[in-house]
Amino acid sequence: INVPSPCRPQVTVLYFARSAELAGLRSESVCVPQRITSLQLWEEIVKIHPSAECIRISIVLAVPKSSFMLSTSVLKLKGYERKKKK
């Protein structure tokens, strides 16, 4: 996770298969709050790509070395947290 400014962390969203066709791209960076559920992240993505609303499948939220399904559990942005603590 790259932290560009002192503000908010970014996550890289990767699109595959049908979602890549709908989003028209294969990856992008999205600014997110420090604590966010994957469902909230999904809502952010739908704001950017309204056509993606019809599918949730074949989207992988990629945080370095781990990935998450869409859920209401909080994404732990470890990389960001580690950086902040230093």
Partner: protein
């Protein structure tokens, strides 16, 4: 080849070129093993009555390789006598009758490699992030590996 030098190895590859059953079987053959079991997944010409023209595969490569490595680790826990494991997956266009996946497992006796190869393909189909575009004569549809959602890949 000395048996002591023939340490267990995993051969994992995702590639756009044709897969070779000769190659994957050669990779796993070992002087201390009497059995090699293989599975080949090929493109079928039909799906639910619709004529399939070809398939196209797309992978989240780094994650797919990580998941396949995990399958290899599981196999070695479940069947410690398994020697070598090869799992090759083709990406991109795969015409009818050509192979999209080849899995080969060697073991001293046959039961272990037969069970392990079944486990490998079932688990790959369930958990590895590879998508399949099924192209029919006048439409297409994307398929994902059915159980392919992750809460956390560190599972």
């Amino acid at each position: 080849m000395d048996e002591r030098e023939d340490v267990p190895k995993d051969f994992i590859k995702l590639k756009s070129e044709k897969l070779s059953v000769d190659e994957v079987s050669e990779l796993v053959i070992s002087p201390c093993c009497g059995a090699v079991s293989l599975f080949i997944g090929t493109t079928r010409n039909n799906f639910e009555g619709k004529k399939v023209v070809r398939l196209e595969y797309e992978a989240y490569t780094s994650m797919a390789e990580m998941e396949i490595k995990k399958i290899c680790r599981d196999v070695r826990q479940k069947w410690p006598s398994v020697r070598h494991i090869a799992m090759h997956h083709r990406l991109g266009v795969v015409p009818v009758t050509e192979a999209s996946v080849m899995i080969a497992v060697s073991s001293p006796h046959r039961a272990e490699s037969l069970e392990a190869v079944t486990y490998c393909i079932n688990t790959l189909k369930a958990f590895v992030p590879i998508w399949k575009k099924e192209i029919y004569e006048d439409e297409y549809s994307w398929k994902e590996n059915k159980e392919c959602f992750w809460t956390n890949s560190e599972k």
